[in-house]
């Protein structure tokens, strides 16, 4: 018998409460109370919060909290099959992309990959200093036998970032064009950004097998896509109104306006979003090692699980190195675009 017995009696709900009285499994608290014995004292200082568990003690018809969580689980399991039926084929290409890219990057010999990386970073940043830094970093990674892991991490980030841009930029453009769509999207983006990264993984583990690469691919994309969407929207909204008016006054079509005026002028802001997206993808790819994402995160996880302090620290340092490389290269390209159109 619980503290709130009186309330239900007063409301005349006693019959309803006891209608299907079954002796379900006891919770630990109930067991403790029973063992300790003693009646419930009506001490105002110890009034229990009217929570599900406490109400249940007085009225059996009200479920306990653990029944609520298992109901959520059951609900999720009920829709799982149909959800999976739709989502599985839709997301299958992601698995192929991730596996393919890890395979290609992994199988190509290092003496092709490293020069290509250097060329790409020079092309993007146009800075000798940064290219030398990238060369030294890869030399170091290779020398301590972490090159293979680093390449796996990089290829996952590469695929996920490209997909984030391909999906995120159009969403951002749509948001900048429609206030209604923006109002609908912002709460979703807020949620994606504030959800702890581990929580992402929970429904995904249920939906897909842990051995599938798309599991971590989706987690990374959901987590990392937010800044590119937000900053595309912001960048296009911030384009000088006078220039837009001029574009209208010279009879540009909406398409011409978008591709010849708005996107080029918003490009520095969009690139800032891409830089953020890359950094967030890197952060997530480490956490995603929990669900079998390969790469440096795997080593960190091994460090934690097996208490191999050295392995964890060295791979952690390698992740920092990758982060610095990615950040410097993308920031340099951002600065280059920004400088070309300052007005």
């Amino acid at each position: 018998m619980g503290y709130y017995d009186g309330v239900f009696d007063a409301l005349g709900l006693r019959d309803w409460c006891d209608a299907d009285k079954v002796q379900g499994p006891m919770s630990m608290a109930e067991l403790m109370a029973r063992v300790r014995g003693g009646a419930v004292e009506n001490n105002w200082w110890d009034i229990p919060f009217p929570s599900l568990d406490n109400l249940h003690a007085s009225c059996q018809a009200i479920g306990r909290t653990r029944e609520m969580t298992s109901a959520v689980e059951q609900g999720f399991l009920d829709i799982k099959d149909s959800l999976k039926f739709v989502l599985d084929p839709l997301t299958q290409p992601l698995s192929w992309l991730l596996d393919g890219s890890i395979f290609v990057f992994g199988q190509t010999p290092w003496w092709i990959i490293i020069p290509l990386m250097l060329l790409a970073s020079f092309y993007v940043s146009r800075s000798v200093g940064i290219t030398v830094f990238v060369a030294l970093s890869f030399g170091f990674l290779g020398f301590i036998d972490h090159y293979g892991f680093a390449i796996q991490t990089l290829s996952i980030i590469f695929v996920c970032t490209v997909l984030c841009v391909l999906i995120g930029v159009p969403i951002g453009i749509a948001m900048s064009k429609s206030d209604t769509f923006q109002r609908m999207t912002i709460p979703v983006l807020d949620m994606l950004q504030t959800l702890p990264s581990f929580v992402y993984l929970i429904p995904l583990i249920f939906l897909f097998s842990v051995t599938e690469s798309k599991l971590y691919g989706i987690a990374i994309i959901l987590y990392a896509i937010v800044p590119v969407i937000r900053l595309t929207d912001l960048g296009i909204r911030l384009v000088d109104k006078d220039v837009i008016e001029a574009a209208n006054a010279f009879g540009m079509t909406p398409g011409q306006k978008l591709f010849k005026v708005e996107i080029p002028l918003a490009l520095p802001t969009i690139m800032a979003g891409v830089n953020q997206t890359i950094m967030m993808a890197l952060a997530m790819v480490v956490i995603a090692s929990l669900v079998s994402a390969p790469g440096l995160g795997e080593l960190v996880l091994r460090g934690i699980r097996n208490l191999e302090l050295g392995v964890g620290l060295v791979s952690g340092f390698c992740i920092v190195l990758l982060a610095v490389i990615l950040d410097r290269v993308s920031k340099a390209s951002l600065a280059r675009i920004d400088g070309a159109q300052r007005h």
């Binding site: 209208n248 006054a249 010279f250 010849k260 005026v261 002028l265 159109q341 007005h343």
Partner: protein, 355 residues
């Protein structure tokens, strides 16, 4: 002096607010602008505008900030839609145009120059100047050829590969003018085109515009808040105040015969000697012979020129000649009288008006 009308604005109203149609009825029933704002939360932008703009002429719309002049010019190419009224361009009401017709109008019949230049910062000067043609889908060779030609015409040869941010304000606006001219539109809208430039550059640009106009005879609609600029450029002057037309007509006539204390106060600040021309103060002779004149002056000379010529002597008479024939007589006493504003303006009329 009958010129063809290029643009005609008829009974144009613009009301800003959530329900302009309903507010329009209130305005037609005689609700005033402050009352409309206070009680009905609508802003009366323009009311009952009727203006004809002649083909090949410079029509200047002048007013202080908030008088609705920028709103008015944007009705001509429908960047702003009117609440009621017609805007006839070549006799056809543009408010009835479809989106495609409107786009064609903006692409090839009506170009625009902006106060803040509004050049594309990521395109070169050459690409900016050729914008209208590129939008229309002309070939690259054609676009670049025309753009080059007009850049040279406005004095920017050699700057084709620069970017807008590398140029000074005056040069940027030259690009803006080249861009408008390159579209080869008959009508050019200029929204405070020279207001953001410093005074010396502004004078240069005004001269450039007059020089171009002497060759090109475009229909130009020019917005300004500067009376000196308006007097210098205008063939037809429209003065706006609080969204309605206070007075319009020949600028010289407005200066000599202002019909409103607001305009009297406005014109009292101006250097009349530099603005007024001989034709406005002479006595026409209608072909009668002239005797005992001191010399000849041109019909379009400014009074300042004549004063300089006379050396300050006020007892002289001059014959006024146009194309070699005498058309009138100028008495220096009339000239001096014309330099004094007709009615002394009520002190602070304009300032009181702003409050």
């Amino acid at each position: 002096m009958a010129t063809k009308t290029k643009i005609e604005i008829r009974q144009l109203y613009k009301i800003f607010g959530p329900n302009p149609k309903q507010a329009l009825q209130l305005v037609l029933d005689g609700v005033s602008k402050p009352e409309l704002l206070e009680k009905h939360d609508h802003v009366l932008g323009l009311q009952d505008i009727n203006v004809s703009m002649g083909e090949g002429k410079i029509s200047v719309i002048m007013g202080l900030s908030g008088s609705g002049k920028s709103t008015l010019i944007r009705h001509l190419n429908l960047l702003i839609e009117p609440t009621a009224g017609e805007v006839l361009v070549d006799g056809i009401d543009v408010t009835t145009y479809s989106i495609d017709d409107l786009r064609r109008l903006r692409q090839s019949r009506m170009s625009m120059v902006f106060q803040k230049f509004a050049l594309l910062p990521h395109r070169s000067v050459l690409q900016n100047a050729g914008l209208a043609l590129a939008v229309r889908g002309e070939t690259r060779a054609m676009v670049e050829g025309e753009a080059r030609k007009w850049l040279e015409r406005v004095g920017l040869a050699g700057y084709e590969e620069h970017y807008p941010h590398q140029l000074s304000g005056g040069m940027q606006q030259r690009v803006g003018i080249a861009r408008a001219l390159a579209s080869n539109a008959e009508t050019m809208l200029m929204d405070e085109a020279f207001s953001a430039l410093d005074p010396l550059i502004r004078t240069d640009m005004q001269n450039l515009l007059l020089e171009l106009q002497a060759d090109l005879h475009k229909t130009i609609v020019f917005i300004t808040h500067d009376l000196d600029e308006a007097m210098k450029l205008a063939d037809h002057l429209v003065i706006l105040k609080d969204g309605y037309v206070v007075q319009q007509g020949d600028p010289q006539q407005i200066l000599l015969y202002p019909n409103d204390p607001y305009i009297e106060d406005f014109v009292s600040d101006i250097n009349r000697a530099r603005v007024l021309r001989v034709r406005s103060v002479m006595t026409p002779t209608n072909g009668a012979g002239l005797s005992d004149t001191f010399g000849e002056v041109g019909v379009d000379d400014t009074l300042e020129d004549v004063i300089a010529r006379s050396g300050g002597e006020t007892s002289h008479n001059y014959a006024v000649v146009q194309d070699g024939a005498a058309v009138g007589k100028l008495d220096m006493k009339d000239l001096v009288r014309a330099l004094v504003p007709r009615a002394a303006s009520a002190p602070g009329a304009r300032a009181a008006d702003l409050n």
